[in-house]
């Protein structure tokens, strides 16, 4: 080999930092989603519809709605997040950007975390912003509307993070939708129980600090563990494709 090597190994200093790479993933996901707003509106519309249909279908009585309101809102939010999960990695998988993501030198779990956060900003956050209006619609009393929004604010990122594991695991499968629900719903149940429980407690005037702290613990747990699981699941799914 007599060629003089002009193309040498790349030194680590040339590489981009993890924070920059995470930001790029986040920005790209937001940009792509905003170019296709109907995909964003679908889960939101679903959320509003379900909550609106309950008073029409079951009973418009104030006492019933006050009793069931927090549950209805939480279940609707949970299902609407579930509805949007399949898109989390599917498009990236189909167009090959997921392969490139896995091959980036930065730790994959952090890039996955950036994607999960983008998913939350696009689906969970709008739900939280809509919740006060719907909360008033189901006659939740002053304080419990605020608590409802707070539980959704803490709870919906957990839904996105746990959901990302399921979405990554079912990526290579054809009938992903059914399996995704079966895998993920059991994991959502604790969040649902504490979410509605906290709002119920608030409407009865009981202190909610402890329950909110527990939900916060869920969030910390999901933030620290879910990206690792999703990253591993993505590697497996790509390996089998």
């Amino acid at each position: 080999m007599t060629t003089e090597l002009k193309v040498g190994l790349r030194s680590p200093e040339l590489s981009v930092g993890t924070a920059t790479a995470m930001k790029a993933v986040f920005v790209r996901d937001l940009k792509t989603a905003l170019r296709q707003p109907q995909d964003l509106l679908n889960p939101l519309l679903f959320f509003v519809m379900v909550v609106t249909l309950f008073p029409l279908g079951v009973s418009p009585e104030v006492s019933f709605l006050q009793q069931a309101g927090s549950g209805i809102l939480w279940v609707a939010a949970l299902l609407s997040v579930l509805l949007s999960l399949d898109h989390l990695y599917r498009h990236d998988f189909d167009d090959g950007t997921l392969e490139q993501l896995v091959l980036q030198p930065q730790p994959l779990f952090l890039l996955v975390l950036a994607k999960s956060l983008a998913h939350w900003v696009l689906t969970g956050l709008p739900l939280v912003l809509l919740a006060p209006v719907l909360g008033i619609m189901v006659h939740l009393q002053g304080n419990s509307v605020a608590v409802l929004c707070l539980t959704l604010l803490i709870g919906t990122p957990v839904l996105s993070l746990i959901g990302s594991i399921g979405a990554a695991l079912t990526l290579g499968l054809r009938s992903a939708g059914v399996l995704l629900s079966l895998l993920i719903i059991p994991l959502y149940i604790p969040v649902l129980i504490f979410g509605t429980g906290t709002v119920m407690a608030a409407s009865e005037g009981a202190p909610v600090g402890g329950q909110l702290a527990l939900m916060g613990a869920f969030l910390v747990l999901a933030l620290t563990l879910a990206p690792f699981a999703s990253a591993a699941a993505l590697r497996i799914s790509l390996s089998n494709s």
């Binding site: 680590p12 993933v25 392969e99 091959l103 030198p105 790509l238």
Partner: protein
Amino acid sequence: MSEPLLQAVNLECERDDRILFRDLSFSILPGTLIRVEGPNGSGKTTLLRILAGLNDSYSGDLLWRGKSRHAYREEFLRNMLYLGHRAGIKPLLTPMENLRALMAGRRSVPDKVLWQALEGTGLGGFQEVPCRNLSAGQQRRVALARLLIADEPLWILDEVFTAIDMHGVAALERLLVERVENGGAIVVTTHHDLRLPTMHRVTLGGGDGYDH
């Protein structure tokens, strides 16, 4: 003699109860181009995905500069560029946005350089047009623009010539030759009749690849 960048030692891969290849050993040296050959379904893409680290279902060893690639994953990924069948181009974004996003994870490149790279692949004037409005060949070219600004020493390119017109193919061939002369290492699969002076071949399929 320079040190091999990537070494495959006794690679074996089985898929759907069929052995695609076994006892496959070769070294990827700087300044060489390796063409992986074989009929359809002989495992060319699988081999390239294994080399790139996307597919873990193999036995045998892969050594990155003599060391276990698994242990030096970060260094390996920093020095390797992979272009697959699926180009990694988002149809909703423009070529500029796509290229910026693809480079963002690797190194910071000024927009001017990205713009020129897109011009260099014949996409001048299309930089700000959403990729879904571009033809298949033009979308491929967005991905190929990365090659013009890539500084990774190892390239793994799967079917790079797909959907590229004659003029583009010639330009790409020149780029590959120039790259190899400068000491880059390239692994390609292609059905295109590629004739380069320093080309090594790895042949898959045929008699030796199948388990009878």
